[in-house]
Subunit: 135 residues, 2 copies
DNA sequence: CTAATTGCAAAAGCTTTGCAGCGCA
DNA sequence: TGCGCTGCAAAGCTTTTGCAATTAG
């Protein structure tokens, strides 16, 4: 789907700020951007955009399911395109490597545990902090 | 260990605000409090404390390992005493309720998944975002 | 005594909102 | 043309910091 169509599908008019922000999110070297990051990058390439617009657009994208906002421990939110395939992350505390993984059994147990408490799962976040096995 | 000893061990002078905040964190019906929560409770019982002090003390407690700060998706941090027994959290997206849970099976699979990738687990964080089951 | 601690107020970040003008459909 | 969208500035929130007065050890 084109960016154009993606915006229309979300009920959003196709405007320059929205297209630029969507392109930034889609570019491979720019995952996990903050609103400020996006704002600065747009300013740097000469786009006349306001920080408030960036926040508004990101919020709209999030509500439309186009992107996801993460609240890590950095004091500000970061955004990434909604992954097509769900996965969780391992972070190596020694090398900083990030390993994506998926475990159906864990997902099943999460659903089971939630149900036991009287809830159903809307979303989840799981990060494993790991170090390499000794050889 | 007494609260008094706990503070001294952390290299902190035993002051009224610190004792009161530590007591609040220890009371069973008050887990996962925000700085604002703690401040209001202290004011309500007549303690003459400043919000800035609450933030400072909580930060000191966290650095001393006395408590942990969680950044769920609420727009503010919440604190709990450092758990002696590991557990994870569910956050209800409708009510904001925080439910603690523990699932050995999930922990086992986490270890297994990490090992498959050539790692061992140092720590992890897992938060399930949930909503109540329809009755 | 004296360095740590505190309350207050001001400031600092991040994010949202009010508003008048601009622009997509 | 009309309503949505935008930039700007101001406001809102949570959290931090400067400072003079207070207090624990």
């Amino acid at each position: 789907m084109t960016d154009d169509a993606e915006l229309k599908k979300a009920g959003l008019k196709v405007t320059l700020p929205r297209l630029r922000i969507l392109e930034l999110l889609e570019s491979s070297d720019t995952t996990h951007l903050s609103a400020e990051d996006i704002y600065k990058r747009l300013i740097n390439v000469g786009e006349d955009v306001g920080l408030a617009t960036v926040y508004r657009v990101l919020t709209q994208f999030e509500q439309a399911g186009i992107c996801i906002r993460h609240n890590f421990e950095e004091g500000h939110g970061v955004y990434e395109l909604t992954p097509t395939d769900h996965h969780d992350h391992m972070v190596c505390v020694e090398t900083g490597d990030i390993i994506e993984f998926k475990c159906d059994e864990i997902e099943d147990y999460q659903i089971k545990v939630a149900k036991e408490k009287g809830y159903e799962i809307v979303d989840h976040s799981m990060v494993l902090y790991v170090k390499p096995l000794k050889k």
